[in-house]
């Protein structure tokens, strides 16, 4: 079993729902984002279009961050997820430099400031300390919501299909641009998308063999303009689950 993700760039509407969902799920400090959206303008014959590229840790099968980690804090799980054991991390930041995708962040003191400086911590921040304490002086990154997968699998849930065992960003994506599943299963939706839509990896030339794949990723080309339904949201059947998830988390604290 090897978890992977397919991102359909043409469907992405730049709603930043995935960024918000990840922030809520992992109680991320204000200055850190595990999921990032790169957006830039492309101009062609006085016609300007904005292209978006959603990036997160690629969970590389040949991950340089694992090779460089001096304490084996960064390790690959049996399911292919590249995870960090914060209790082992010494904060040398070698992995931050070595990651060719720049998807790692060192959590320094100045990054763990209050959401509202000079004011008391919000309820969300207080809950972070209890539910998802981030260790200052260590490195962080996306872990494909490994904790949700670990919680869901024993219950017989299928990551990618059952929402409770699926990464928060995938659940939230209104445009259904994100698909999650088992790369080892040829019948999984991700495997089919990779074959049928000729999915590509980001900078395959690095030899890192990422587990995140992209479809319709001709960056800068007109083919990357989102289809009508993605732009208008007409295909959206279920609204963002960010609010729902936030309520769920807050209700647990009572």
């Amino acid at each position: 079993m090897k978890w992977g993700m397919v991102i359909d760039l043409a469907k992405c509407m730049r709603c930043h729902g995935c960024v918000a969902a990840c922030r809520i799920e992992h109680f991320l400090p204000f200055s850190i984002a595990w999921v990032k959206l790169i957006a830039y303008e492309v101009e062609d014959k006085n016609v300007v279009d904005v292209t978006t590229y959603a990036v997160r840790c690629n969970q590389c099968k040949e991950a340089p961050c694992i090779d460089v980690c001096p304490t084996e804090a960064t390790h690959r799980r049996d399911d292919g997820i590249v995870d960090i054991n914060s209790d082992l991390c010494i904060g040398c930041r070698y992995c931050v430099i070595a990651c060719p995708y720049q998807n790692r962040t060192f959590l320094s003191k100045d990054k763990l400031v209050n959401y509202f400086p000079n004011h008391a911590k919000t309820r969300f921040e207080k809950m972070r300390e209890k539910k998802y304490p981030h260790q200052i002086g260590t490195t962080e990154k996306c872990n494909f919501c490994a904790e949700r997968i670990d919680e869901g699998l024993p219950k017989g849930l299928k990551p990618g299909q059952d929402r409770a065992a699926t990464p928060a960003c995938v659940n939230t994506c209104q445009a259904r641009a994100l698909t999650f599943g088992d790369l080892d299963d040829p019948n999984s939706e991700v495997s089919k998308l990779i074959v049928e839509r000729k999915a590509t990896q980001l900078h395959a030339d690095y030899g890192t063999d990422p587990s995140v794949y992209y479809v319709d990723g001709k960056i800068g080309g007109k083919s990357n303009i989102a289809p009508e339904d993605a732009r208008t949201g007409s295909h959206i059947k279920e609204f963002s689950s960010v609010e729902k998830r936030a309520k769920e988390i807050f209700s647990q604290s009572k």
Binding site: I38, A39, Y53, C89, I90, V96, Q102, I136, I219
Partner: protein, 317 residues
């Protein structure tokens, strides 16, 4: 269809163009720069000292590595008191990680170097010890010298390999970098050794200057090849090289590395051929310049470390 001419909600536009690495040069990163410089100076001086059998040089070199370089790197760590986790047997990371190897080599060097310094001191300043004890000390001294020599070389080269491993920074990602750093380190060590010789005596300064001359010439060749090589590489590596030669880092490169670090020490070492013996103050000035060059070289290499952008190549198509 409507088009916008403005970017909005752009959180991470930095990833679409080459961006500088900051972790190892800005803010706390200055400590990495300093620790790499002191590593180069200390290992170079120690290595030259044990070749020349100079105890004071070895002591100063050892102190620079163990007393300055190690604490600087230690302070830089986000969780310094977990440093032991990077050492065997607590980790097997040394099999792939150059920083783990570096910690391991430096720790071994700290042990072997200390033994060597103690035994060499006892040989140099005998205190009426029994002949059998003295013979044992001799054996221990030679063994410690060999082991300390090996580990100090490994300590000297790991910084270069640590950087050259990073595919993310094309300017560093070349086999030339460890050689440039190693050669510069030995030249820096020789320069400091001249200083030790001038102060403590017992060192053939003329011979050291002759060797320094050769190493400085090799240094010029290596740095020029390294930069030229970078311009043949990726656009990002070319950008780094251009920034050193004519960009924002041209001043530290030309004034610090080229003039202070190479031209002045080379001119001073060549001066006896044309002007007879040079005064001690001029020699000391050359050593100071050479050492400043060591700081400038590492600063320049670290400061022009640009990450290869994620989407750059696609955008250029």
């Amino acid at each position: 269809m409507q088009h916008t001419r403005r970017q909005w909600m752009v959180q991470h536009e930095w990833m679409v163009k080459p961006m500088k690495q900051t972790e190892w040069i800005q803010g706390e990163g200055v400590l990495v720069w300093l620790s790499e410089v002191f590593s180069s100076l200390g290992t170079g001086l120690y290595l030259v000292s044990i070749f020349l059998n100079n105890w004071w040089g070895a002591l100063i070199g050892y102190f620079i590595v163990v007393g300055i370089k190690l604490p600087l790197h230690f302070v830089y760590l986000g969780r310094p008191f977990r440093f032991w986790r990077a050492l065997p047997p607590f980790t097997g990371a040394w099999r792939t990680s150059w920083i783990a190897r570096g910690f391991f080599f430096t720790t071994l060097y700290a042990g072997f170097g200390l033994i060597q310094l103690i035994t060499s001191y006892l040989i140099l300043y005998p205190t009426g010890l029994d002949s059998s004890v003295v013979n044992t000390i001799f054996v221990v001294d030679i063994t410690a010298k060999i082991l300390a020599g090996i580990t100090v070389v490994l300590t000297a080269i790991y910084c270069g390999f640590m950087m050259s491993f990073c595919k993310s920074v094309p300017f560093w990602n070349t086999g030339m970098l460890p050689i440039v750093i190693m050669n510069a380190g030995i030249a820096d060590g020789l320069a400091l050794m001249i200083g030790v010789g001038l102060y403590f005596g017992g060192v053939d300064v003329m011979m050291l200057e002759a060797v320094t001359r050769i190493l400085l010439l090799v240094n010029i060749l290596l740095i020029a090849t390294y930069l030229l090589n970078a311009t043949y590489g990726t656009d990002t590596a070319k950008l780094s090289a251009k920034e050193l030669i004519s960009g924002k880092n041209a001043l530290p490169f030309w004034v610090g590395v080229a003039i202070a670090g190479i031209a002045i020490p080379l001119a001073v070492s060549l001066a006896p051929y044309f002007m007879g013996e040079v005064s001690h103050s001029v020699q000391i000035f050359a050593i100071v310049c050479h050492t400043a060059g060591a700081f400038a070289l590492k600063y320049c290499i670290l400061n022009v470390g640009y990450y290869k952008p994620l989407l750059y190549s696609e955008m250029r198509k």
